[in-house]
Structure formats: structure tokens, C-alpha cells
Symmetry: C2
Subunit: 420 residues, 2 copies
């Protein structure tokens, strides 16, 4: 089934910055994006931040001839913002919504409402089964004081878990999207080292685009310059990643990005730059797998430390929400006990305020308890992975520690013997 002659696959990825009524010149930019996709005829276009279904439907109509196969992933309150346009038939689709994605009360950031996720579409290309993933991770609002780091690490972990466990039957794997992480950031290393996904930017011999592959640049009409400090020239946070299989070898022949402006247009497609990769598919028996176990273990250890720190911070937040609940309850009791000193309306008003405090505390308590569950589950999975890597590393099938939750006392000789 692998192509006899080299097959070429052209992949496009763009964060469209499509917040209706907030993002600038939205309708005009979608018109431009539609024109670009219709003209360039990429095999697969992976879009992020298509927040409005109406905008997706506009593109769908515009690209009905060039890209007849589409999937718009729906999740969260607003949506995942993820969309796929394909020239090749989409056989199946699957969505995994990240368990941790910011806080609902951070209205100015708003990531929580977006239901950030990773979407998978299975596409048949030249008789090959391509597993194509599109994703968008939680934004980094402050690099110096990044309160969302544990959330992004959990998302990176879940992303690599999802890719690893759903790509077994694939002939080739492609992942595109806005990872909101610099190339050497922990989450990025976690993803690449555990899945074996390779970065088109570092793999290609032919790159035409912004300096250092930046996808968020100062020279973009829509970029707020203060958001880039201390990276004045720009940052690289959007990616196209690829992976071989035992049957197919994938090479990135060329990669290009837009460069902040569009010829004959007064403004760019988005506040992010678009990525375009030309991939060569060749028959192969070789497969570039994940990094060596020792490297994978180092990255997991580092990630576990971040998750643990996130856990203790979230536990502190849960305790504070518990205090808020108790404060509300105590104040309510105080108001009720001293009701004879106030008018009926005053008691009602003060009582309502106390109930409001009590309920807010309860909702926050539930939110942080859920977060703690997710962080603990992630830590357990990471520990399990570490133990498995360690077992592989020492070339011994039985390791000293065994449980995924802690370290029970086991007797190695019992492991592969069944007691009747």
C-alpha cells in the first residue's frame, strides 16, 4: 500500500485569531484565508481559533471544491476553535478535551471557555492511513510568572498520551497547531520525546520564512509589541510535526511561513504567521521512534516536578476556597443571630451576601478539587511511565518499584508466575 513513487503531502497550519467582535478585521481576514487556501491547494489545512461556527461555515462553503472534507471540533462553552479542511476523505474523527484548562473566573484570559482539546482525523492519502492531529494549548500570558505552567504541562502530557495511544495503526502521523510553547520548553520536549514526532522546522533543509521560524513576530500589524518582551524579534509557538511508520518514511522537503504582511493586502491573515510544509512520503522499513529511554525519563521527571508544584499550589487554593465557605457560613449565622437588631430587609440583604460568599466558596472548592484530581492522575501516569522506562532501560523486565500509585512491596519473582 505504501506509495511506489514518492508522494507529496502539503500541510497548512494557522491560528486564525477569530474572536468575533474582538479580533480585528475578522471577516476580511477569513475572506483572505479562504482565498489563500483555495489558491494554494494544500492537502490538509489545520486551523485553530476558528471560534465562531459561522466563520467555519463560511470557509466550508468557500472551499467546498478545493477541500470537500471538513471537520469542526466542538467542545467547551465557546468551542475548541479547531477545524480541519482536507482534499482527502476523512474516515474518522475523535476529540480529546484537555482535563485542565485555566479557570472560569479568569474572564480576561478566557481559555477555560474555549474547551481546549486535541482533535484527530484519520485521512486516507495515496492509499495510506494518515493520522492528523490539530491542537491548541493554553496561552502563556506571562513568561516570568506563568501560573498556567502546570496546566500546559498536563495538556502536553495528555496530548502525547493521546497521540501515542491512538496512532498505532497509522502509516504516518502529522500534528499541527498552536502549542503556545517555545521549541525547547518542557511541554514541547515532553511531546516530542515520548511520541517520536519530529519538528518540520528543524528537519527541513529548505526553509523560507521569518527569522528563526518565528510565528509570532513584531513585524505583524496585529501583534502587541509588549506581548513579545523579552523576545523582541518574535517567538516560535506554532508547529507542524511529523512521524514515520514502519511502512512510510516522511521527510520535510520544505517549510515556509508567512512574514507578517501579505502582498496586495493592507493587513496579514492573523496575529500568528501561517506554516506550510511540503512533506515527501517514501516507502520505508525504518522508523524513527521516540528518544532514548534515558532522555524520556529526564523529561518526565522534570514534568512531574512541575505537576507536583502545581498540585501543592492548587491544594492551597482549595484550602482558601474552604475558608471562604466557612467565612460565608459564619457570617450567615451571625446575621441570623443578630436579626432582631436589623430590619427584615437588611437581614435579607446581608443574608443574601453571605449566601453568595458561601456558594462562591463551594463552587471554587469543587473546581480546585477537580483540578487536584487531574493533577494527581497525571502524576500517577507519569510515575508509571517513568517506571516502565526504567524497566526498559535496565533491560530487566521486573523493576524494583511497581505500582502506579506508590511503591508497594512486591516480590519480583511473583510477577510472571500465576498462582493457581
Amino acid at each position: 500500500m505504501a506509495p511506489q513513487q514518492p508522494g507529496k503531502l502539503r500541510v497548512f497550519s494557522l491560528n486564525c485569531w477569530g474572536i468575533r467582535f474582538l479580533s480585528k478585521l475578522c471577516a476580511q481576514r477569513y475572506e483572505m484565508i479562504g482565498e489563500l487556501l483555495g489558491r494554494e491547494q494544500h492537502d490538509i489545512a489545520l486551523l485553530q481559533e476558528v471560534w465562531s461556527e459561522r466563520d467555519f461555515l463560511f470557509l466550508k462553503r468557500k472551499l467546498s471544491c478545493s477541500h470537500p472534507y471538513t471537520h469542526y471540533f466542538k467542545s467547551g462553552v465557546i468551542g475548541s476553535g479547531l477545524a480541519v479542511f482536507s482534499k482527502h476523505r476523512i474516515q474518522d474523527a475523535l476529540l480529546y478535551q484537555y482535563s485542565l484548562n485555566g479557570y472560569p473566573y479568569m474572564l480576561s484570559h478566557g481559555d477555560w471557555f474555549g474547551g481546549k482539546a486535541v482533535g484527530l482525523v484519520i485521512v486516507e492519502v495515496f492509499g495510506l492511513k494518515a493520522h492528523v492531529y490539530v491542537t491548541h494549548l493554553h496561552a502563556e500570558y506571562s513568561r516570568a510568572q506563568d501560573g498556567y505552567l502546570p496546566h500546559r504541562i498536563v495538556q502536553s502530557w495528555e496530548l502525547q498520551q493521546f497521540v501515542r495511544h491512538t496512532s498505532h495503526g497509522a502509516d504516518l502521523v502529522i500534528l499541527g497547531g498552536d502549542l503556545n510553547m517555545h521549541p525547547q520548553d518542557l511541554g514541547n520536549r515532553l511531546l516530542r520525546s515520548h511520541t517520536g514526532l519530529r519538528d518540520c522546522y528543524t528537519e527541513t533543509d529548505k526553509f523560507d520564512g521569518c527569522e528563526d521560524g518565528h510565528t509570532l513576530i513584531a513585524n505583524n500589524h496585529f501583534t502587541k509589541k509588549q506581548d513579545l518582551i523579552p523576545f523582541e524579534k518574535g517567538i516560535r509557538i506554532d508547529y507542524i510535526l511529523m512521524k514515520d511508520s514502519q511502512r512510510v518514511s516522511v521527510k520535510c522537503e520544505s517549510l515556509s511561513t508567512t512574514k507578517g504582511s501579505v502582498s496586495d493586502k493592507p493587513f496579514p491573515y492573523s496575529d500568528h504567521e501561517a506554516l506550510m510544509a511540503d512533506l515527501n512520503l517514501l516507502s520505508s522499513q525504518d522508523c524513527t521512534g521516540a528518544l532514548p529511554e534515558s532522555d524520556q525519563m529526564d523529561v518526565v521527571s522534570e514534568a512531574r516536578a512541575v505537576v507536583k508544584e502545581g498540585l501543592s499550589k492548587t491544594e492551597a487554593l482549595r484550602d482558601r476556597s474552604l475558608h471562604l465557605m466557612f467565612a460565608g457560613l459564619l457570617l450567615l449565622l451571625l446575621v441570623l443571630c443578630s436579626s432582631c437588631f436589623f430590619s427584615f430587609s437588611a437581614v435579607g440583604f446581608l443574608g443574601a451576601v453571605c449566601v453568595f460568599i458561601l456558594l462562591s466558596g463551594a463552587l471554587l472548592y469543587m473546581l480546585f478539587t477537580t483540578h487536584i484530581k487531574v493533577l494527581k492522575e497525571t502524576e500517577d501516569q507519569m510515575l508509571l511511565r517513568s517506571q516502565n522506562l526504567q524497566t526498559k532501560l535496565i533491560g530487566c523486565r521486573v523493576s524494583g518499584s511497581s505500582s502506579s500509585d506508590a511503591s508497594p512491596e512486591i516480590h519480583p519473582s511473583s510477577v510472571f508466575k500465576r498462582e493457581e
Copy 2:
């Protein structure tokens, strides 16, 4: 790698009914469950409703010799309640929390707080890679008026999607748990027909247990008889399912259930009966796959109809929550406009009530909007699957309709041609 001689795998599944302070005789029953598991030495025990981590840790200590490998899946506010105890090393674990799982305001039902999910552990057994799934679906509180049916159908869909997409590399697949569905219920058929999982109860020649394989029976000390009406003798809602691979054939040699009482004990292990399956693993080149495409299509069509109905009902609920918001807003404006006629405290009290109504409406609006997103996503995935099955069925690679979202106008001849 497949076993030269027949290998035998003993699997256990039980809904432990472990709601601390609410479930009767919890501590004593966990003591009994621990004794049973320690004595019977099943290879893998799949437990549900282990809601308290303390109870899990109690079992973990008690079974540290017989089942040194464990994983406790954490999600939701309370937890998923899912736990795995294994004699064989757990290599990896992955959790998928269902997108739809009841309503937070249904405090008496409480499923929402449980974070219902499907957990996967990858276990090495006799050199084989076993993918073992444990799950618990939303309860059915009324068979006649089952308001949660669309939620359970979405969960069944997500369950089969998760199993299908994560079991490619498996030598054998086992799924155990409380599906909260009768054997011929739509969600159950959806799961079996699309994954190729076979029911141990219908497959085995040797069954020893309750009549018709019931796992919720009238003759159980803890069962509320009125919950079983109109199924006076009992119902079968707990399952052990299995699946072959191209390398391994799995046969259920025998299946047994507990029968409502335990010898020498005054009460049973739980309000559910436990399942115990003895599976024979044999080298094989044959693989029993999923049902024929036509059968799969029929089930998907039926499921889509339920999801669509759920969608329209949820849209109505969202509209009502919008009305609630507007009512709160209007009342607030009314209070503020007529503030000169009331005392400051009275205005404050009435204002607080209005804000409470407004916020409740807003929270419900967000909840139902999220549910609508999930229902739409599920419907899209179902449509896509139908189209793919149809394509396979007619033996033609290009079907008349193509998009996963709707039906764009496409030209079949363009599908496998790339435009340069």
C-alpha cells in the same frame, strides 16, 4: 510472542457501591472484597464505585502481595471510582473522562460529581500486550422516562471510539464494568457492534451464576426492590467483554457471578453481583472483528436519532436558562429604577436576589451550551462513521456525501486526484 501453550487469564469485575457514610456496611464489605480477591487470585480485578481513595488504599495494602500492580483513576469532583488491581505489571495508563455525565444540580443523583470515565491500563500477560479497560456509565434512574438516555448514548459512543482507537497495538482486549445498560440496549449494541467486543456471558459454555446472568437481583440484601420494577427477578448491567487480535484468540472458558449472598457472611459484597471470567488465550491467525457494516450502520442511525432528540431537548433547556437570565436582569433594572420607593437595605436585598437569579441563569446557560457542543460533536462523528461504513458497504471508495459536518457538493473524481 503468542503463548505456545494455552494461557489462562482470570478476570474479576465488581461495582463496589462504596459511597462513604451512605452505602451500608462499607468498611465490612471492603474487608470481604479484599479477602475474596486475595483468596481467588484473579489476574486482573476491575472495580467500580471505589469512591473513596482511603478504601482504595485499604485494598492496595491488603492485596500488596497478590496484586502488586494497581491504578486508581482520578477525575471529577469525587473521582471516577475506577480501580484496577493486577498480578501482572501495568505498563501504561490512560483516562478518558466522558464529555456528558448528567447535571450538577441533580444532587440526588450525583453522577455529575463522579466524573464518569473509561480507564485503560496496558498489562503484559505471558508476553502478550493486554489492553484492559474499566468503566462505569451514567445510571438509569427511570427506564420509562430516562432523561439521561442521550448522555448514556454519548458515553457509549465515546467508549467505543476510545476502545477502537487505542486498541490497535493490543494482542487482546478486555473491558469490564458497570455499563448501566441491559444487554440489548442501544448503547450496548453500539459498543459491541463497533468494537467487535464479545460478551463473556453469551460466549461461554459454562456459566454458574444468577438466572439470565443478572448482576442486580432482588435476592440481594442491599437491593431496593422498587428499583428493579418491572424486572422483578433482576437485570444484567455489569459485563466482562473480550476481543481477539490477529495473534491471539480469546475464549471464555467459564463465567460465574456471586448470587446475592456470601457463605458464612451475613451480607453480600455489594448491591451488585461480582463477575468472574476464566479466559483461554490461544495462538491464532483469525480475528473476530466488528459486526458487518450494515448492522453497524443501523445501530449508528438509531444512536444518532437519540442524540438528535437529546440535542433539541438541551437546546430548549438552554433557551429557558436564557429566559431566566433575562428575567433576573429585568427584575434588577426594575429594582434599581424604583429604588427611591424602598429603603437602602430593601433595595440591597432585592438586588441580591436578582443577581442570584441572573448568575444562576448564566451558569445554566454555560452548562447547556457545553452539552450542546458535545451532542453536536457526537452527532458529527456518528455521521462521519456512517458515511465511512456506507462507503465500505457499497464497495466504492467515494460516497455521495462526504463532509463530517454536513453534505458539501463534491465531485467524486476529485477525491483521489491531487491538484498541483
